[in-house]
Symmetry: none
Subunit: 524 residues, 2 copies
Amino acid sequence: MSRITIFDTTLRDGAQGEGISFSVEDKVKIARKLDEFGVDYIEGGWPGSNPKDIEFFKHIARVKFKNSKMVSFGCTRRPRHTAESDPLIRNLVESGTPVIALFGKAWDFHVTDALRCPLEQNLDMIHDSVKYLKSLGREVIFDAEHFFDGCKANEEYALKSLQAAADAGADALVLCDTNGGSLPMEVRDITSLVCSRFKTPIGAHIHNDSGMAIANTVTAVRAGAVHVQGTINGYGERCGNANLCAIIPILELKLGHRCLPPGKLEEITEVSRFVDEVANLVPDERQPFVGKCAFAHKAGMHVDAVTKHESTYEHVTPESVGNDRRLLVSELSGGSTVVQKAAKIGIDLTKGSPEVKAALDTVAHLEHNGYSFDGAEASFELLLRKSLGMYRKLFDLKGFRVIIEKRGPEEEPITEATLKICVDGKEAFTVAEGDGPVHALDNALRLALKQFYGKELAKIKLTDFKVRVVNTRAGTAAKVRTVIESMDSEDSWSTVGVSTNIIEASWSALADSVEYGLLRHLPK
Amino acid sequence: MSRITIFDTTLRDGAQGEGISFSVEDKVKIARKLDEFGVDYIEGGWPGSNPKDIEFFKHIARVKFKNSKMVSFGCTRRPRHTAESDPLIRNLVESGTPVIALFGKAWDFHVTDALRCPLEQNLDMIHDSVKYLKSLGREVIFDAEHFFDGCKANEEYALKSLQAAADAGADALVLCDTNGGSLPMEVRDITSLVCSRFKTPIGAHIHNDSGMAIANTVTAVRAGAVHVQGTINGYGERCGNANLCAIIPILELKLGHRCLPPGKLEEITEVSRFVDEVANLVPDERQPFVGKCAFAHKAGMHVDAVTKHESTYEHVTPESVGNDRRLLVSELSGGSTVVQKAAKIGIDLTKGSPEVKAALDTVAHLEHNGYSFDGAEASFELLLRKSLGMYRKLFDLKGFRVIIEKRGPEEEPITEATLKICVDGKEAFTVAEGDGPVHALDNALRLALKQFYGKELAKIKLTDFKVRVVNTRAGTAAKVRTVIESMDSEDSWSTVGVSTNIIEASWSALADSVEYGLLRHLPK
């Protein structure tokens, strides 16, 4: 049961994936989640490359982590600077993180043709930079860029680059397959060679350009690596980085290593979906271990066998990674989920009871129409309450009208919403402007509810608003799913709405959000 | 340069993937494409399992193939039948294919617990079935189901199952990792063992439940397998089958094997996209070799290096697999990207010139305001043209008004857009309904442009619409980024718009999208 160190680079290398653009808030959210999950290192960004990452490190310095160490990433000093004078190194120091991941060149061709400096000088640059950062008391992880390709081209030089870092006191030497082109046999042989030569812990950082990043990372561990770099869901430049959502289960369940604190592996499916949600990416359903289809059985024979013996068509149990088995022909799944969710909000149900069946039918029907309650517990609770006759209606919608008008090519559009609701037979008819149609509707709704629930309403704040197209084929007439997140001083909650009309979808989510928030504060 | 046989099972095992439902016509289309592409075997379906597959084989019998042999799939005779009397075997014979893939049990646990028959009897079933089909002059490929798990549990019995098939004259013995849980080292050892025991050609059929199907298949070939089974784009039950779109390039480009007729590897990207199109699935952009992102560079340093030497950040050339290099524009990219992009659209710029600097400044400014061009090349091209004075304006917006009205809690909202534009001094004022505000605006714009660009407009279709909130803190007043994807018969393109008002953001993306599409078809 040897320990393998997990180094997450979702926020740095993962952010280089196409279509990924994290805000500072997104990054903080994910970092907190990763700490909770229990990875050893969180690489937060490259403070030298853009102002957003500098802002992130300023922000994250105030957050106290339980399990993880924060890492900033950067390159060895440039030829014309000393380590102390290089502004990029200064950015790393100023980021204030306890750990610094420093990448340097290990492939001679890259030194001469991309960096364009003498081979010896590059070794000095590695040595000086590591030594300087070590002298400041930082933990230094040396990422040997293109190590595998470098080793194939000039083994002696590649090893020298590691030696330069090791001699300067680096805490780990990480072998990078930067272009993602290496094969498992090459990774095995080269990692074994390095492990036999160095006492410093060896790590692996593998890209997925040959679709082998998971296998190559596991192979490196079998060959002696004890530190693994990767990203949640395999985000990353081009074809992505090694996917931690597969590597961690393989190392823990199949090879008996320990990567996470006890009990945490069962959260990996939830972590995977949380990160997709924050990145606003559609989850890959076929993703091993954590994907929606990973334990979905379609062929009749498989379904039949799997209900006799799980291990007939499953290599690990879905429970071990917090995922669910789904039998696609019968759609039997879900009963225990409803029971569990109900228990969470203090409602005692029995699996197989008519109440559970009714709730499941409603969920199935809504999911068929594009709903997803994965990230929208508040809407699910309202639905459950309605289905169980435990719902208290706070207002009736009579109607609304939203007008967006743009009067010239350079003019800002004007948005106005009118809304009529009814509370205990009393009508409220309001009009409000907003920065956009949902904002205007939100303002009109608040105005209308003020006279009835003013005190409670003041506590609720909308914090996030996300839109996703559910069936993309239909272009602008496609169905959209809107998720709204709100908070008060104690908690936050999410609600969901689905419609072909984005305003209607937003209205559903908005109404649920406000209603759920009010119910939290009104006397029961 | 040894020859590896490619056995495609997209139409059989691939069709067991969730969300895949091929019609008979779809299957015929794909089979023709695969034959053209040059795979050795096309497994068309399981004539015993459903009437659609029986119809497919009836249909396909009339098609003459150039490169591929058609295969029908089924199981060995059942305990209570002889090979001749088993109706499922009769279906195989009647399908009329020259090749039959027959699967049988190799794992003792499956024989006793799923099949529920004595171990010896299962060996007879394998032997009789292969022998009978061989006596009819068919080529018989024996798929040893669960072979790797079986071999780990009871090596002697697993090998006996292969022996039964080999003795009966099977033309190939295929080792299946049916649950997809095997690791590369296990696949290597077990395949080597089998290859040392049998003269019959050995094949590998691997599932992807550990994310290692590509690596395991390549490992099996290195250990002596000469026959590879897989699917286009890795379709298949649960996490899918081994992905031929990665395995074939690896075997041909990295290991010097020959899989396809000469020159055909360059068609693999097109084959991948064709099959996704027929299956009506959104292509996986991060897919190795053939994905849209496989050769997309985002980090400025990578872009800079790759334009100096392609091999710095690419393990194979995009041309070798018929894919394209893409340099993504973002705050992380530098002058080289702009120069390269401009060159692609026939504009000659120099890195460091004032034009490039101006364009970069504009990008930086827009990105700071929430734009992201990395998935929106068309908007970037329009921006570049504007910045260089090479832009031809097709219409002026005078204004629009969108009204969304909901008249009761259960009523569908009514959405209506009015739009005024001006082309060469001539005004068009239109009104249209839609399923949502963007759809209504799209309809109104098309109506307005029809009289000016009707022929060109007819070719453009909106295919996707994405919305993302850029700064989530501000709740419903947050800034949103809309990305619209459109296509004509030849190509697809993406555009982007950003605003606090979702309608304004959508309008920008929509206007760019239509304008870019029209410019493609109008005389220069």
